[in-house]
């Protein structure tokens, strides 16, 4: 299972990086989305994968397996943050498109001169 997850994370990072290198802003944002999914899954996998256990300790059977709650809390935070930022980037790209009429990063050069 870990190996499968590692492959998925690798694929997400690979495709995300490829999309980041495109010139279109929309593809760039898709790339950011893929990268942040990859990062979240990595966080999840690194916390240790366990099947069918809750992150709660049952006092009567203290020996039982428990899932580690920390990575879940971390991912939840990371997902919320990346959701908010992605929404912001989408609006920003829309406004930039309205102002410049371009979806091409190479055309957004007026601030570099």
């Amino acid at each position: 299972m870990e190996i499968l997850m590692a492959l998925i994370v690798g694929t997400l990072f690979g495709t995300g990086t490829y999309m980041l290198l495109r010139r279109s802003i929309v593809k760039l944002i898709i790339g950011l989305g893929l990268l942040s999914h990859g990062a979240n899954l990595l966080l999840f996998t690194m916390g240790g994968l366990k099947r069918g256990v809750a992150p709660l300790i049952n006092p009567s059977t203290a020996e039982a397996m428990v899932a580690d709650p920390v990575p879940q809390a971390l991912i939840l935070t990371a997902i919320v943050i990346s959701f908010g930022v992605t929404a912001f980037v989408l609006v920003l790209a829309y406004r930039a498109n309205q102002a410049t009429g371009h979806d091409d990063l190479d055309e957004l050069q007026t601030t570099d001169q």
């Binding site: 990062a39 690194m46 916390g47 990346s82 920003l92 601030t111």
Partner: protein, 513 residues
């Protein structure tokens, strides 16, 4: 597994819990401002009072830790490493004081210069949340918490950067947002690997547990953190977002960005490389030294080629980040003292220069050095107020820049880093050159014939004073830092000495005797 269930909350001392005040005050000020939507007069007062209170608490903390003590607060009474820990050592307290001081000073400038539209769209609330993120990053003792405060800071800065929606802001803002998102994603990935390796994210706990991990893995982690924080700090070769975006928002906003945001990245680098990644010291610190040299050189050479005032200054931010990282790379007590001294000096001087450039651009109607001119005749006070921070930046005695560079270069000579010393002196010279370029073009030469003469200032007199006062205060601070260099040196030396004894930090946080 059962041990953490049985741990009792420690007695909550009000004195130790009060170290989170510099975070709580901007948070509540921001919320109050959001509730007061529309009443701009009240909002300004609330925001100023909030920034002032935050400064007071930060100064209070600085006084309490000035002897090198470390204050620790465990949130909700959960003992480290299970709960969220806030830690204030002298380095944090110095950064907090500077951060809140800039917060107050730039805000006074903003009251006189931010237009009504931006005020209505929530400038002050975003500004307070930005300060919340900055202050939080300085005092947190937990890596994931650091990520959250980084995000608070970044999201507010995204808002401030694009507030107003002018074309340049949107273009620069897009680059700024995207590259900072990539850096955050790398940061989260690094956090995942850290958690998988050590099973903790508390910095003090990590410092102990990572020393048992495989050395190859810690070097990998160190590199990931170096890239993630390096993007935020504007290190070579990851700085291209900075000069593309910092000159686009209104001067008050770019001044607070220039003063504080990259320095949060530098703070994180110093914290992580003095506390956590010490196992493979020579490799990472040599890498840091090479990066520092290249950052200095490329930044200053970039500045020489620019013609917009704030573009020149943006490139100088990069070159000066190099000096701070040089101090971290040499890694002796004296070098770290130099780095902290340099950060102190840089935050004050850089903010002052951006504020001056705002006034020059406002009066001259353009940011282009070729079209500007004659400010020394039309506004002599401003010329003096530019000269003090500009010469300080270049490192002329008796200003603050001289002493901070002196300490760094002395540390470089003592540890026989002659190449770095040479590079830093050369970069100093080029810095002086480009400060003189701004001086000659904007202040000294007469205004070009083709340009319209400077319009008489039609603004209310109060607004002009609100712009001048903060600049004068910052210039005065730069002078005082230079004249009181011995006191500042002692303070920063204590801070550096504390940083170089990570066991002090670990004992304080984990509560062992």
């Amino acid at each position: 597994m059962m041990t953490w269930m049985n741990c009792k909350p420690p007695t909550n001392n009000m004195m130790t819990q009060s170290i989170v005040l510099p975070v709580l005050i901007p948070l509540f000020t921001g919320i109050i401002i959001l509730l007061l939507r529309g009443r701009s007069g009240v909002i300004r007062v609330v925001s100023l009072v909030g920034s002032f209170l935050a400064l007071l608490t930060a100064v209070g903390l600085l006084i309490r830790v000035a002897e090198g003590d470390i204050l620790v607060a465990q949130m909700g009474g959960w003992k480290a490493p299970y709960g969220i820990t806030f830690v204030v050592d002298l380095f944090s307290a110095i950064m907090l004081t500077l951060g809140t001081l800039m917060g107050l000073v730039v805000q006074i400038y903003a009251v006189g210069s931010i237009d009504r539209g931006r005020e209505q769209m929530g400038f002050y609330a975003l500004y307070q949340f930005l300060l919340l993120g900055v202050c939080g990053s300085f005092i947190t003792g937990d890596l994931f918490n650091l990520y959250v405060f980084f995000e608070v800071m970044l999201i507010s800065s995204f808002g401030l950067m694009t507030l107003g929606g002018e074309r340049g802001q949107l273009e620069g803002g897009l680059k700024y947002v995207v590259i900072n998102m990539v850096s955050s994603i790398l940061f989260v990935s690094a956090l995942g690997i850290v958690y998988g390796t050590a099973g903790t994210l508390n910095m003090a706990d990590l410092s102990e547990k990572l020393s048992a991990a495989a050395p190859g893995l810690t070097t990998l982690l160190a590199s990931l953190f170096l890239v993630a924080f390096g993007i935020k700090a504007g290190l070579f070769p990851l700085f291209f977002w900075l000069p593309a975006s910092y000159h686009t928002p209104p001067p008050a906003i770019s001044a607070i960005f220039a003063g504080l945001l990259t320095k949060v990245g530098v703070y994180a680098l110093i914290r992580v490389f003095t506390l956590i990644f010490l196992q493979d010291g020579t490799y990472t610190h040599n890498l840091l030294l090479v990066i520092a040299g290249l950052t200095m050189l490329v930044g200053v050479l970039g500045a020489v080629a620019q013609n917009g005032i704030r573009r020149v200054l943006s490139f100088h931010i990069i070159s000066q980040i190099g000096y701070m990282i040089m101090g971290l790379g040499i890694f002796t007590p004296l070098a770290l003292t130099g780095a902290i001294f340099y950060i102190t000096h840089h935050i004050i001087v850089k903010t002052a220069l951006f504020l001056v450039s705002g006034v020059v651009e406002h009066r001259g109607g353009t940011a282009d050095l070729k079209k500007l001119g004659g400010v020394i005749r039309s506004y002599p006070i401003l010329a003096v107020l530019f000269l003090i921070p500009a010469l300080s930046l270049a490192g002329l005695p008796p200003l603050s820049g001289f002493f901070s560079k002196f300490v760094l270069i002395r540390a470089g000579l003592e540890s026989e880093q002659y190449v770095m010393v040479g590079v830093s002196l050369f970069v100093s010279l080029l810095t002086l050159f480009s400060m003189m370029k701004i001086w000659n073009e904007a202040f000294w030469k007469p205004r070009p014939e083709s340009e319209e003469p400077v319009l008489p200032d039609t603004e209310p007199a109060g607004s002009a004073w609100l712009r001048l006062m903060p600049i004068a205060a910052l210039a005065l601070f730069s002078l005082l830092l230079g004249l009181g260099a011995e006191g500042i040196y002692t303070l920063t030396y204590t801070a550096a000495a504390t940083l170089l004894q990570p066991e002090l930090y670990i004992t304080a946080v984990l509560g062992r005797q």
